[in-house]
């Protein structure tokens, strides 16, 4: 057996070991939050580097194929998503530490749980086999359940966590049921085998497999909070501690998409068009529902939660328009995920830095005249809002541009129009915040954190990235711009179909 495959597993391994190590370290009193966070960072960055080693080229390997019976594949696609997930973890730690420090009941275990969930997510985007993907999903989800409800003396936390747990396990049961049905239909749970089976037996009755696929799809829709299964997200996002919300809203969604894209593109592309009609309506309803919820929220956190539903809708537009014509739909998802990751991570992160969940700067109104107290923070916040609203000169615009082009290209102009409408509605609730921050004379605010330390730096970096992603171009040839991102997304897409 060839051991050089180990390099491909390094990210996974380092995160896993990190998780275990942190679990062991956390009881030790001398390791306070900040120390632990540095340890966490060490492992995350280690695996990030390990992942970045083979970046920018199209590859696809199944490490230790005989050992794992090629349950895992590590290709550009997974590498791409892994890097986003790891970045999510890193940002969460960097930005969140400040939050974890000042809020009680958050002890070192959270970092180990965080790493576990990251581990699960990486696994999720690398797996090629349904049941192992189920396990990965469960690893990620369960650790997140715990993270949400970690502060067990806050009702909202525990309640949110419990609701998430019940509905989540209901969803995963559906997932399991789907696996079982597919197993019953295709006598296998390996994606490649299933797809070859489907290819071979086109003529036969596929009801079981299709139903199973549908159930898996439902789970996916649940996890990304698409329309009929979106109710939990508002409560859970609202109930969770802010950094965790950020982590869930951006990173987890990315991982899920990574999995389902592989699932759909590789495995079920034969049968995809069976679902395309219903997904069409799901996308529309998701966007509408999200917009409806978002327009009247007073709490920023809930607004962002609702808006994340809308963004799910945008992603679903691209998801629907994936088809044989052109790769732009699929790649647009992969690209938009980055855009959304940066924006929402930035917004939530900023919120988690300057606000607290229940008493400090919760609602829109609490931000009156914020720009006079912290002009730069206000500017960053505005940048995130603009990017979320998809205003040009932010990466959010390019992402939307990309998605709508894909939709139109594959003939879903109506979806594009509705997406546009949702965008236009979103302008209202994003700009409201900017208006409040800038248009009011400065009001006295209690203990606004200063603009120094690591979290603001990270957030600023993300803001810069957003702008650069919006305007950056190939004029400066050696510096990666929009084109670079788009090309990487294309590589990731292509790598799905080799080997």
């Amino acid at each position: 057996m060839k051991y050089d495959d180990i390099i491909y597993l390094l990210p996974l391994i380092s995160v896993g070991t990190g998780a275990v190590v942190l679990m062991l370290l956390s009881p030790i009193k001398s390791f306070n939050i900040s120390k632990l966070s540095w340890v966490t960072l060490f492992f995350l960055i280690l695996s990030f580097i390990a992942n970045a080693l083979n970046f920018g080229k199209v590859y696809s390997v199944a490490p230790f194929a005989h050992l794992f019976s090629s349950m895992f594949v590590i290709d550009t696609f997974s590498g791409y998503f892994t890097s986003i997930i790891l970045a999510g973890g890193i940002v969460t730690v960097l930005v969140g530490t400040h939050y974890f420090d000042k809020s009680d009941m958050l002890r070192g275990e959270i970092f180990s749980l965080l790493l576990f969930s990251v581990f699960g997510m990486i696994l999720l985007v690398e797996t090629k086999e349904l049941f192992s993907s189920f396990i990965a999903l469960e690893i990620a989800s369960i650790s997140i359940y715990i993270l949400v409800g970690f502060q067990k003396n806050y009702t909202r936390r525990v309640e949110g966590s419990f609701r998430y747990l019940i509905l989540g396990s209901m969803a995963s049961i559906m997932f399991l049921l789907g696996i079982v049905l597919i197993y019953a239909g295709a006598k296998s749970t390996n994606i490649i085998e299933i797809s070859s089976y489907l290819a071979l037996h086109k003529s036969q009755d596929m009801t079981l497999v299709i139903t199973g696929g549908m159930l898996i799809l439902i789970t996916f829709l649940f996890k990304i909070a698409a329309f009929p299964f979106q109710n939990w997200s508002m409560d859970v996002y609202d109930g969770a501690p802010l950094p965790i919300t950020a982590f869930m809203a951006s990173t987890f969604k990315v991982a899920i998409f990574g999995f389902i894209l592989r699932f759909i593109l590789v495995d079920f592309h034969e049968l995809k068009n069976i679902w395309s009609d219903i997904l069409f309506y799901v996308a529309i309803l998701t966007m509408l529902y999200g917009s409806f919820l978002a327009v009247f929220q007073t709490s920023l956190k809930r607004m962002l939660a609702a808006s994340s539903i809308v963004h799910t809708g945008y992603l679903l537009i691209a998801f629907v328009s994936i088809n044989s014509i052109g790769e732009s739909a699929a790649t647009s998802i992969i690209f938009y995920l980055i855009a959304y990751f940066l924006s929402s991570m930035g917004a939530f992160g900023m919120l988690s830095y300057i606000a607290s969940d229940d008493h400090l700067r919760v609602t829109y109104e609490d931000f009156r005249g914020f720009s006079h107290i912290r002009p730069y923070m206000a500017a960053m916040m505005s940048i995130f809002m603009l990017s979320l609203a998809g205003i040009p000169s932010t990466i959010g615009f390019i992402g939307k541009f990309y998605i709508f082009v894909g939709a139109i290209e594959s003939g879903y102009t109506l979806l594009a129009v509705i997406g546009i409408l949702a965008t236009f509605i979103s302008v209202y609730y994003y700009f409201k915040l900017i208006a409040l921050m800038y248009f009011y004379p400065s009001s006295e605010m209690t203990n606004v954190p200063p603009l120094k330390g690591i979290p603001p730096l990270i957030i600023a970096v993300m803001a810069v990235l957003i702008i650069w992603g919006g305007v950056g171009n190939t004029l400066i040839s050696y510096f990666p711009g929009i084109d670079f991102l788009i090309d990487t997304a294309k590589f990731a897409y292509q790598s799905l179909f080799i080997g």
Binding site: F404, V405, I408, T423, F424, V427, N473, T474, L475, K490
Partner: protein
């Protein structure tokens, strides 16, 4: 890469404003540097004006790849029409600065003004539709800021209203742009959003073209604004600060017109011709409708808002008249009206600065106190009214000619313009400026040196363009003829 003249014109204000925002300089320095910048830009555009060749169409082209994977290019160019508007913008803004000089606004105000200039010139000069949309949207933010932060009255509401309203329109335009791009891709197999490429699309059905046409038109109709989409205008104008309303009325509204001529006409000539009657109708209707509405307004800014709406409707009618007279006249009226309205708003800004916001009935007796201001006011007013000797007359005459050629009855109705503006403008002049009332205007000061220079500079241009219009027109003329070719093609085709 080499930076062309146009890029310089576009991005100099942007760079300067960022530097100013970051550096810890106080308001005065910011203001002076900002003014210097605009002057430099003005000189640059002046050089363009003089280097402009009548022989060929698009000039000073710049062409660099931007988002190559989607064939989006950073491509700029200027033709006679955009050149005259560029001149207008770069001339107006410094002159406007002279008026805003004394406003005690933070540095953000001046920085935003510069940003607006960048957005406006960028939208004006870009030939790639995505690039155009890019500038078109981003010029909204500084306006949003200026009105919201420095505005008065119910500013936040009206700011959100204009922003959302405009963005709604431009999003429809975005869809149309994307659709065109995809259509081009489907037909030619490469991505491009170049105007010169997109006009070659042939595969679109008539229905699709019509829908896209309206996708574009709604954006511009809201910006201009054309009749049913105008309600944001009045609130915004009456609530925004002098600088904001100056920019909005004098420059931004004109860009809507410009967009129609630059993009809609070449992209959808058939629809342009097919729907011309409706827009001419809307235009002439709006001319009279807004004119009458202006009559009884109590707030001067509101009244001017209505009056500019009326003129803009007239311009719209002009560009849809499908002949050289109408379009030249429209181009000319864009300039004339921008100058006059801009000047008027600046003067009203002066009144507000000294006397606070007042209704018309709260003013009066200004003429005795501030004769220079009164003279300037009268000058601008006469240009609005379209009195011979001002460029207002030339342009209105040309548009009437064009509309008459388009349809005699429409032409006759549009000739009512000589009555519409006069009716309320002179009444306003009587009540607000001339007649002595017992309102206290002791705070009022007459124009200072800078303002005299600014406003009478405007006045001089207005008169010059009225007495010797040809010298300004012959540079637009070939471009207009070039536009007409599209229409003629349609005439041949249908």
């Amino acid at each position: 890469m080499d930076i062309g003249l146009l890029s310089f014109i576009i991005f100099l204000p942007l760079v300067v404003s960022f530097i100013l925002l970051i550096l810890p300089v106080d308001m005065k320095v910011t203001r002076n540097i900002a003014f210097a910048t605009t002057v430099v830009v003005f000189l640059l555009s002046l050089s363009i004006f003089f280097q402009f060749r009548l022989t060929d169409y698009m000039q000073f082209r710049e062409f660099h790849p931007w988002i190559t994977s989607y064939g989006i290019y950073y491509s700029l160019g200027v033709d006679g029409f955009s050149m005259i508007i560029l001149m207008l913008i770069t001339t107006l803004i410094p002159l406007g600065y002279l008026f805003l000089w004394k406003t005690k606004k933070a540095k953000g105000y001046w920085a935003s003004m510069l940003l607006i200039q960048t957005g406006v010139t960028g939208a004006l000069l870009s030939l790639d539709l995505v690039l155009f949309y890019f500038f078109w949207e981003s010029m909204l933010l500084p306006v949003f800021m200026i009105i919201g932060i420095y505005g008065t009255g119910n500013r936040i509401f009206s700011t959100l209203k204009i922003t959302i309203y405009t963005i709604m329109g431009s999003l429809f335009m975005l869809v149309s742009i994307l659709y065109l791009g995809v259509a081009f891709y489907n037909e030619f197999g490469v991505w491009s959003f170049q105007l010169s490429d997109l006009v070659q699309i042939t595969i679109l059905s008539n229905l699709q073209r019509t829908l896209l046409f309206f996708g574009f038109m709604i954006a511009f109709a809201i910006k201009i604004p054309i009749f049913p989409f105008h309600t944001w205008l009045m609130q915004t104008y009456s609530n925004s600060p002098t600088g904001g309303v100056f920019i909005l009325s004098a420059i931004m509204a004109k860009l809507g017109i410009y967009g129609i001529v630059r993009f809609v006409l070449p992209l959808f000539p058939h629809q342009y011709v097919e729907f011309a009657p409706y827009f001419v109708g809307l235009g002439v209707f709006g001319l009279i409708y807004f004119g009458i509405a202006a009559l009884m307004q109590q707030n001067i800014k509101r009244m001017f808002a209505y009056s500019s709406a009326s003129h803009l409707a007239f311009i719209t009618a002009g560009i849809f008249s499908l002949n050289a007279y109408g379009m030249t006249g429209a181009a000319f009226l864009i300039v004339a009206h921008a100058m006059a309205t801009g000047g008027l708003f600046l003067l009203v800004g002066n009144l507000e600065y000294y006397l606070g916001i007042r209704t018309i009935s709260g003013l009066g007796g200004i003429a005795k106190k501030a004769p220079l201001l009164t003279v300037a006011f009268a000058l601008m007013l006469l240009c609005i009214v379209g009195l011979p000797g001002t460029n207002g007359f030339v342009s209105e005459l040309l548009i009437i000619l064009g509309l008459f050629q388009y349809n005699h009855y429409v032409g006759v109705i549009s000739a009512l313009t000589v009555l519409v503006a006069a009716s309320f403008m002179f009444w306003l002049f009587q009540r607000a400026i001339l007649v002595k009332t017992d309102n206290d205007i002791s705070e009022l000061k007459d124009l200072d040196k800078k303002e005299i220079f600014g406003i009478f500079g405007l006045g001089a241009v207005i008169i010059a363009m009225g007495i010797y219009p040809h010298w300004f027109l012959y540079k637009i003329e070939p471009t207009i003829q070039h536009y007409l070719l599209d229409i003629l093609k349609v005439g041949v085709a249908s």
